[in-house]
Every structure is written in C-alpha cells, then in structure tokens.
C-alpha cells in the first residue's frame, strides 16, 4: 500500500527524505498529541491540511495518497456516528445538533491527521535511517537492529504466509472457500508453518549477526554519515516553537 506512493522521488529534490528521521518522528509524536489534546475541531483539520500540503509539495496529490479506501470511509463513519450519537447542544436538523457536528469533525479530523501524518512519515523515512538516527541519540544497538530486522522481515513473512496459503489450498484445505470455517482453517494451517519459518529465520539471522561480531562492543561505528543540515535546525526550532506554543495555548485556554 505504502510502497505504491513515492514522495520526493528522483525527479524531485528529496527535501523530506533528507530531514533527520528522529526529528520527523518527533514531529509525528507532537502532531498526534496536539490534535488529541486540542478541544477545537479546526486544530485537527489544520493538521490535516498541513500534512496534505506536504504531500502535495512532494508531488503526491491528495487523490494519490495511499490507503484512501481505508481512511476516507473510516473518517466518514466516525463523523456520521458522532453526529448521530451526540444529542447535546442546539438542534440543527432532525437529531443533528451543533455540538454533534463539532464532535464529529473533531474525531474525524484527529483520525485523518494522525493517519496521514503517519503515512507521510513512512513514505519519506527509510527504516534503517530511522534506526541509525535513534541509535545515534542513544537507543541501544540491539533495540535499533530489532527495529531494522523486524521492518525488513515483515514483508518476507507476508510473502511466506502467501506461499503457505497456496500450498495448503492445493492440498485440498479449503482456505479459499467462503464462510467462518475459512478463518479457522487459516489459523490452524498457517500459524504453525509460519511460526516454524519465523523461528528458523531468527536463528539463522542470529548466527549471521553474531558471526559478524554484532554486540561485541558496546558501541559501533557507522558507514553512514548523519550530518545536521540547515533544514534540520530550522525544523527543530519550529518544532520547539510549536511545542512551546501548544503548552502556552493549553495553559491559557
């Protein structure tokens, strides 16, 4: 899903890709906390607008943002549910109240802001670069590589699961039939082979990493140079300003 979207591709300056991944993660965390703490709906929608603008700046128009079949219906469902469920406030039409509309916009805006910001983070951040940045900030190497290997192996296990599914189907296990029995068959016949495969992969990877002196020294050197650029500094200053502004706003409000 995410792989289908490229932002700041080779034909465009990779501005967002070049930003320090840890800084991008900090922005994501701040945005997620801020939209959930803000009591006004328009804050959430401002966040949505900013994220969509960043996508567009990277050459990805709103209608090309990945996963829209999932997040648009979900946001719409949240909006409708809140509008119909909240009865307080002045009546606008039928059972719809002004507070219900505000609650619906707030909930759907929060969802969209967090989902879209996360998508933006994923499509502009290389997992290994993120782990390297976090390790440079003090995350233990073991945890950093746990993150890297998990992200690297996840698609492999997805493919593995697909292979196992196919192998079971052609033996007559009706995993491709309809109905609830399908899920029971899938659980029963997919889980064990997948678990065995995962354990075998983990063991082989441990041998490979240990054989290349992983964990021998408390710290490691790195081929990748992580230089702090002017854009990083500017983003950091802006983030600090935003955090400070949020705190002040929260205290005043």
């Amino acid at each position: 899903m995410v792989a289908s979207c490229t932002i700041n591709g080779p034909d465009r300056p990779p501005r967002l890709r070049r930003l320090n991944p840890a800084l991008k993660l900090a922005w994501l965390v701040w945005l997620s906390v801020a939209v959930f703490c803000a009591d006004r709906a328009w804050w959430s929608w401002l966040g949505v607008a900013v994220v969509i603008a960043l996508f567009a700046a990277g050459g990805v128009m709103p209608w090309r943002i990945p996963g829209k079949r999932l997040w648009i219906p979900l946001a719409a469902a949240l909006l409708v549910t809140q509008v119909l469920a909240v009865r307080e406030g002045g009546s606008v039409w039928w059972v719809v109240t002004d507070l219900g509309i505000q609650a619906g916009l707030r909930a759907s805006g929060r969802l969209l802001a967090v989902v879209l910001a996360s998508l933006l983070f994923v499509v502009t951040t290389e997992p290994f670069a993120l782990a390297a940045a976090l390790m440079k900030l003090g995350l233990p190497d073991r945890w950093g590589f746990a993150l890297v290997t998990a992200l690297r192996l996840a698609p492999l296990f997805r493919v593995e699961g697909h292979h196992i599914y196919r192998a079971q189907v052609v033996r007559g296990v009706a995993c491709d039939a309809c109905g609830p029995r399908r899920w029971w068959l899938l659980c029963r016949h997919l889980c064990l082979p997948l678990l065995v495969s995962a354990l075998r992969t983990a063991e082989a990877l441990a041998v490979s990493m240990e054989g290349r002196a992983f964990g021998v020294h408390p710290r490691r050197t790195s081929l990748r140079e992580m230089r702090t650029t002017g854009a990083d500094v500017a983003c950091l200053v802006l983030l600090i300003a935003c955090v400070a502004g949020s705190v002040v706003y929260a205290l005043i409000a």
Partner: protein
C-alpha cells in the same frame, strides 16, 4: 588453515554421533568441496569450523578444530569469525540490513572500524565479487544469484582468510550457480582465500577440479581430486556425480492419449509487467515434462497457472477437463498432486504417518490399499521408523520425500513439482524418480496390472539438473523471460538450449565422459 583433529560431535538428545573421527587438513588457498548424503555430517563440520558448536550448542565433542592457529572451542566467536566466515544456504536469512552497502559494512561497523577504512573495504569486497553496480541497491530488489554474491561479499569485507559456504546454490539456477563457483575459484586463486563449499551439485563443480571430501555416516570416506579418473572414485561418490547411461523412458504421449493440461495464449501480469507472455502448452498422459530456465523466467508462475493460483491471468487454462478460473485451487486438489519449493509450507498434520495420508483422507480416498501403499512408500523412503514423529522434526531431505508421498497417495492424474530435487543427495533423488515414474507410467487403478492410454498420469516439474531430465523426462520446456523458447523431446531440446547459449542447462561434457567410461559398472544403480 583448517585442521580437524579426530573431531567428533554428538548433538544433545541424539543417540548417534553426527560426525566422528574426522581428521582433515585444509591448506591456505585451497578450495575444498565437502559432499555426502543428507545427514552425513556436512553441515555439522561447517558449523564446527566456524565455531558455532562447541560451547554454543548442547552436545558432546571429542577431538578439536583449529582454524588459522586458534582452537575454536577456546576462542570467542567474533575472533573465530575474523578468521573464517560462514555463508548460509538462504541469503535472505543472512542479511541484517536493507541495502547492499549497509550489509557489507555491517561486520566492520560492529568491530568499530573507522568510517574511511569501512568505505575502502566495502569497495574492495564489491570489486572482488564483481558487484560494484549493486552498491546502492536494496537487497529485496536483487536476484537470487546477486543476493548470494552479496552474502559472500559481506563475509569477505570482514577480511577472513577462509570462508565456508553451506549449499550456496540451493536456490540458484545452473548459470547463477556456475558463475558463483567460478567467482569463488577466482578468489581462491588470486587472493589465496581458503574456500570450503558444502554442495550437492558436484557435476557443476567438477569443471573447477577442486579437492573433494566425501562424507558418509559422519566419517570421511574419500578425499580425492575431483576431475580424476571416474573409475577410481568410490561407488557412492560416482553415483552422486553422474547418473549411469540409461535410455529415457519411451515417449508414450501421442495424439490419442488423454489431454491432462492445456494452456492457450496465457499471459500473466504483476505490477504492470508480464511474467508470462502468450504461453501455450499441452501435457498429455504418459508425459514427464521438465520445466527449465533461468530464475525469474516464469517457471513457477506457469505451475501456479496450472493450479489456479496465479492472479491476473488472461487466456485459457484447462486441467483434467476443468476450466481453471479464479479461486478454484482447492477444487483441483483431487486431480493434481503438488510439491512446492519449500518443504515446510505443505506440512499440516501432527505425525509423519498422518501427513502422508492427509490429502487422501481430506479427499475421501483413504482406503486400505491406499494406506498399504502409503506404508510401503514410507518404508522405501526411510521414514517408517519416524512415522510417529512430528513432520517438522524431520530433516530437509526427509520432508521433501514426505511431501511427494503425500502428493501422490490420493492418486492424482497430474503431478506438479517445483524443484523437488533441490538439496537432495543421489539416494533420495532415485527414490523421488521411482515414485514419479510409477505415478506416470502405472495409474492407481491399474497398479499391478496393465496400464492403458487413458489411465496413465503425467508430471510437470521444475528441474535444473540435466542428468535428472535425461533419466526421467520425455520432454523439455525451456522458459525464458516469460516465454517458452524451446518445447521439444529431451535430446532435441538440449541441442537447441545449447544453441541458444544456455550451456549450463545441458549435461556437462566431463560428466558425460565419465558416464560413458563407467557405464555398466554400477549395477546397483539400475532401477
């Protein structure tokens, strides 16, 4: 460089010794191939040499292993790894990072080598394996052969004096295998690197004339120079190197025999690219069709099309009279027997015995004669003693045999096998061939009686070893870049494949020469 001195190892909770009394010396700069039947102790020797057994696995050891002057049992693993590196069978399981450059730098970063030195050594390792263009590539985008070269380069970047490769070509096509072997030979010659290769594909290694150590039941049975006179080799080794001359089975398929599979104008697309292009193929009863060709050419996709598993298929596909469209794969199960590439994927039951009869039971075909036939096959496959064991507890070779038994017991008309011989020693190849021929030549209904044109089955299998093709197949279909470029009887097909510049897929002259010189001397091999 590597010395095994009366070495033996018994794994915990194992009755027998995996290897015992092994005394072996490998000189610096030497290329040594360790071969033998499945379970003969090859991988155990490799693990011992790389320091992955003594003190790190539960078990009992005797004797000692010395690598580059240090006793591996008394040396920390990372120090042993600085002297000798291990490349495992599946490179996917070897990689710890997402890109080629990061992977090559990984070991050096762990040893706290300065950045400039890492850069220099990464460049050097890339150049040694001839993979400089891959430098910035993501590992997931590489072919199987490229991945294996990167795995070797990632070990060499650490600067070891020896490298051990455990069946490095198990998932590679003949050309990629040959290229890797030649690259390793060059490294040994130019850099003085000691190379130890554990491998079943001895025919492809023969041209390099390496030293060959033959293991049997955990002991060294032969230590010879591969390429010497074939008649001087031990029988087991000769059987592993070549198949004695034997006429291929008669081509029984005619226009009168039943049409079991038919593809007409089939095209398969994925991610905007055509994996198969306008493929047409007919398989008739009595045929054993070899699907050959480079990795990624479309062979496995062709099998998936026959099974109704491929997506975005255009054209017509009929299997055993059923139009294969959409999600009908489980509906085809009564008519086809399938063995996938990975032995683990098809295992379902709790015991070996239940696994063998699983499909027959699921499809309502488990009658006393079928049960008796299953018992017979388990016995011939050497699995009878393990009938109550969990299938996942079997060795790889045992699982492959169990896969095939399970695929044939429900008496399918069409066998579809995806590299069933990978990682198999000759004894096991012979068992698999016997079962395949029996399925194709004698139908279940006619077992013990005369087969008829209508009752015979057919087999389509992805296979890389031309010696196997010579022995059992009636026809070769060569698939390259999504197209069938050769579809002909075996002898004619090999001539055309050779003419197309794919010499790695035709029987090796050296082996064939041995084959001719030694024919008639291996009575035990005439099945």
């Amino acid at each position: 460089m590597i010395h095994f001195d009366g070495f033996g190892w018994r794994f915990a909770r194992s009755a027998g010794w995996a290897v015992r009394g092994v005394s072996l010396a490998v000189d610096a700069g030497e290329t040594v191939v360790i071969a033998g039947a499945s379970g003969s102790g090859k991988t155990t020797l490799a693990m011992a040499a790389c320091g992955l057994l003594m003190g790190r696995r539960a078990g009992e050891a005797e004797g000692r292993v010395v690598v580059d002057g240090c006793d591996v049992a008394a040396t920390p693993l990372h120090e042993v790894a600085g002297r000798i590196g291990l490349v495992q069978q599946n490179p996917e399981m070897h990689f710890a990072t997402p890109t080629v450059r990061d992977e090559l730098a990984f070991g050096l970063e762990n040893r706290c080598v300065p950045r400039e030195e890492i850069r220099r050594r990464v460049d050097e390792a890339l150049a040694l394996l001839g993979i400089e263009p891959l430098r910035g590539r993501e590992l997931g985008t590489l072919s199987g052969g490229e991945k294996q070269r990167v795995a070797v380069a990632s070990i060499l970047a650490g600067g070891p004096r020896a490298v051990v490769l455990d069946e490095p070509t198990a998932s590679l096509d003949p050309r990629a295998s040959r290229d890797l072997f030649h690259a390793l030979a060059e490294l040994a010659r130019q850099r003085g690197l000691t190379v130890v290769i554990i491998e079943h594909k001895l025919a492809q290694l023969a041209a390099l004339r390496p030293r060959l150590v033959w293991l049997d039941e955990g002991r060294v049975q032969a230590d010879v120079r591969l390429g010497a006179d074939a008649t001087a080799l031990p029988t087991g080794l000769r059987q592993a190197l070549f198949l004695p001359a034997q006429a291929p089975p008669p081509a029984r398929a005619t226009q009168e025999t039943a049409l079991l599979a038919e593809l007409a104008g089939v095209t398969v697309e994925a991610a905007g690219q055509a994996i198969l292009r306008d493929v047409s193929l007919q398989v008739r009863a009595g045929e054993v069709v070899a699907l050959m060709g480079p990795n990624g050419g479309g062979k496995t996709t062709l099998l998936h099309v026959l099974l109704g598993l491929a997506e975005r298929v255009s054209g017509s596909v009929r299997v055993c009279g059923i139009e294969v469209t959409g999600r009908v794969a489980s509906r085809l199960a009564p008519h086809v027997g399938v063995v996938f590439q990975n032995a683990d994927h098809q295992l379902v039951a709790e015991t070996v015995c239940d696994e063998a009869v699983y499909a027959a039971r699921m499809l309502g075909r488990l009658d006393p004669p079928t049960t008796a036939w299953g018992e017979e096959l388990l016995a011939v496959a050497g699995l009878a003693e393990r009938r109550d064991a969990h299938p996942f507890a079997l060795s790889w070779g045992q699982k492959r045999r169990l896969n095939l038994i399970s695929a044939v017991l429900h008496q399918p008309k069409l066998l579809l096998l995806d590299e069933p011989f990978s990682g198999q020693d000759w004894e096991h190849v012979r068992f698999l061939l016997t079962v395949i021929r029996r399925m194709v030549e004698v139908s279940a209904d006619e077992r013990g009686g005369e087969s008829t044109a209508e009752s015979r089955g057919a087999c389509v299998m992805v296979v890389h070893d031309p010696r196997v093709v010579l022995r059992v197949c009636t026809r070769v279909v060569f698939v390259e870049a999504g197209r069938i470029v050769v579809d002909a009887p075996v002898d004619a097909a090999f001539e055309r494949i050779q003419a197309l510049g794919h010499g790695a897929y035709v029987p090796d002259d050296l082996i064939e020469g041995w084959n001719r010189s030694a024919s008639g001397t291996l009575p035990a091999d005439r099945t």
